[in-house]
């Protein structure tokens, strides 16, 4: 009886502590007003992109030649105008946004996963493993990234979003790896970690339960900023024809298709580009807010 109540009390205590930590994080984040506004804008864009079929009466690939090459107009709800086949550009931009965000989120997840594993192994085990993994990281950093991606997509790629995301992740994990390694190196020597090791905890348990939770801040900040990096690289690749291939629309690809007539139909290039700038800008501001809130000053600037 007493035993069970004390266990319940303990559980409750940890819950209160947990909530207060979350609460502190939220209130700190809320103080960064630009970040909060950015978050709202980004969520709105993401909701619209996820629901790209529902936000306009048009389909992204339904042609309507009489309505071709219209400028942005409220009439007929072509907010971003139409392209030379009369396809509604508003719809196309949001479908493109969906692809681009999907690729970028996947890259952020995958590269963070790879980088965390590499960094944790290097930082925890040290010695020869550390040396080997860090030389590998240096090698990947020094590679001409964009050129390599172009070569790989030329000879291997079918240009599906998932494939582009995997290729991008295979190059973008290096920063996380370095950050996690640095954190592990300093935490490895702290008393609570040594106590856990002395108590007989396995390396896996020490890494998973004791060190990793303390490195979450920098990892989260970095993952957020990786989304923006990935969007910029994927758009550039899709723009020069080495990324996501038609008929799947992506923002970079829309810009590339509109480029031929950009002097007269400026909206074809302007709106997808503005979308990229808006998304990346909001993500960078959110990253800044998260850095303040999570007290992760040593994470990278961009």
């Amino acid at each position: 009886m007493t035993c069970s109540t004390s266990a319940a009390a303990r559980r409750e205590g940890s819950m209160i502590r947990h909530r207060s930590r979350l609460w502190r994080f939220l209130s700190r984040f809320a103080r960064h007003r630009v970040a909060v506004v950015s978050l709202v804008i980004l969520l709105a864009i993401m909701m619209a992109a996820l629901n790209a079929g529902g936000i306009s009466p048009y389909n992204y690939d339904s042609m309507n030649l009489p309505a071709a090459n219209l400028g942005p107009t409220m009439e007929g709800r072509h907010y971003f105008g139409t392209d030379k086949l009369g396809r509604d550009y508003f719809t196309r931009v949001f479908y493109g946004t969906r692809t681009t965000i999907f690729v970028a989120m996947t890259v952020a997840l995958l590269s963070t996963l790879i980088g965390t594993i590499v960094g944790a192994a290097a930082g925890y085990f040290g010695g020869r493993i550390d040396n080997l993994l860090m030389r590998l990281t240096d090698l990947v950093i020094i590679l001409p990234g964009l050129a390599l991606l172009m070569i790989l997509t030329t000879f291997l790629g079918e240009g599906t979003p998932m494939q582009v995301a995997i290729l991008l992740s295979s190059l973008l994990w290096t920063l996380v790896a370095r950050i996690v390694r640095a954190q592990f190196l300093s935490l490895r020597r702290r008393e609570f970690v040594e106590a856990a090791i002395l108590a007989g905890a396995s390396p896996w348990r020490v890494i998973w339960r004791h060190i990793l939770p303390n490195t979450l801040g920098p990892i989260i900040v970095n993952a957020t900023l990786t989304i923006s990096t990935a969007i910029l690289i994927e758009s550039a690749l899709s723009f020069i024809g080495f990324g996501v291939k038609p008929p799947t629309p992506a923002l970079g690809q829309l810009i590339s298709q509109g480029r031929g007539s950009m002097q007269t139909q400026w909206w074809l290039v302007t709106f997808p580009g503005l979308m990229i700038v808006t998304i990346c800008l909001t993500i960078n501001f959110i990253g800044d807010g998260l850095r303040d809130a999570l007290d992760a000053r040593h994470a990278r600037r961009s």
């Binding site: 020094i142 001409p144 990234g145 964009l146 050129a147 172009m150 070569i151 790989l152 030329t154 000879f155 291997l156 923006s228 910029l232 758009s235 550039a236 723009f239 020069i240 080495f242 970079g252 810009i255 480029r259 950009m262 002097q263 400026w266 290039v269 302007t270 997808p272 580009g273 990229i276 700038v277 990346c280 800008l281 993500i283 960078n284 501001f285 600037r301 961009s302």
Partner: protein, 323 residues
Amino acid sequence: MPRLIANRMFFSLFVLLAATLVIFFGISSISDPLGELRSEPNISPESLQRLIDRKHLEEPLVVQYGYWVKDMVTAQFGNDLKFDRPIWPELSRALVNTVQLVIFAELFAIVLAVIIGVMAGRFQYSVFDYGTTILSFIGYSIPIFWFALILQILAVNFYQTTGVRAVYISGLSSVDAPTGLMFYVDRIQHLILPILALSVTSIAAYSRYLRASMIEVINADYVRTARAKGLSEPKVVLRHALRNAAVPLATVVGVNLGTVFSGTIIIETIFSMPGMGLFFFNALSTRDVYSIMAWLMVTASLTMLFNLVTDIVYGLLDPRTRT
């Protein structure tokens, strides 16, 4: 210092040797040099066989590697596959053009970033500081290819409304390029837009770094001492603060050069500038593996060279590393 450089150069040779291995076997494992040509109907089996003989494609890969390295050393990368033209003349011209573009863009970025960074760091939390902070966030978020296109649209609009041809939106020189001093004016008119587009990200990154290290330095004891000595404010900021704040910037510039180089692939394609980037783009479009490998080798050598130069500059800026 000379000893350090000698050591580094010796080490670089080994890295380059490793690069030849990685490049050759990497490219060979994912591509067939004749892949594109095989599917073309107007190439006869005889001419295909001639190509196979010329590049020794029937030998084992290791032997092919030997021939490739031999070609690279003795015949400057040899000829390309499809048109049988020597690779090096075009590649070297491209290299000169790209180095010119990168140097101008980076110089522009560094000068502007130093001005912005010093001002923002010196007058922290001023309107200027907030303004440039927001601008640098935008600089981080703007895709350079899109910025380049917008610059082109604006340039054409400017020409159409005023009739003044201030800048050109493609190429490196006019077809009827003037001679003498006007040649350089013409060249600069062609380079302005690519330089602007290529340097946005660098300006944003460098100015932020410089601002941060300026803030760190400006509160240091030796800066206070300099002020206490009664030195003028410009002297304190430029002679004492900036010189120390600039040290980390050298590393950042060195690391960032790779990104700038990647940027030239996009910028040169957009502005039709005959540089390394456009060369690579064309080599990939025709799937000419020999041109691709030559490009990768030159890029690897350049990277090594840049790293060496960065280390030397670092030594010049920070006496502590001079051993």
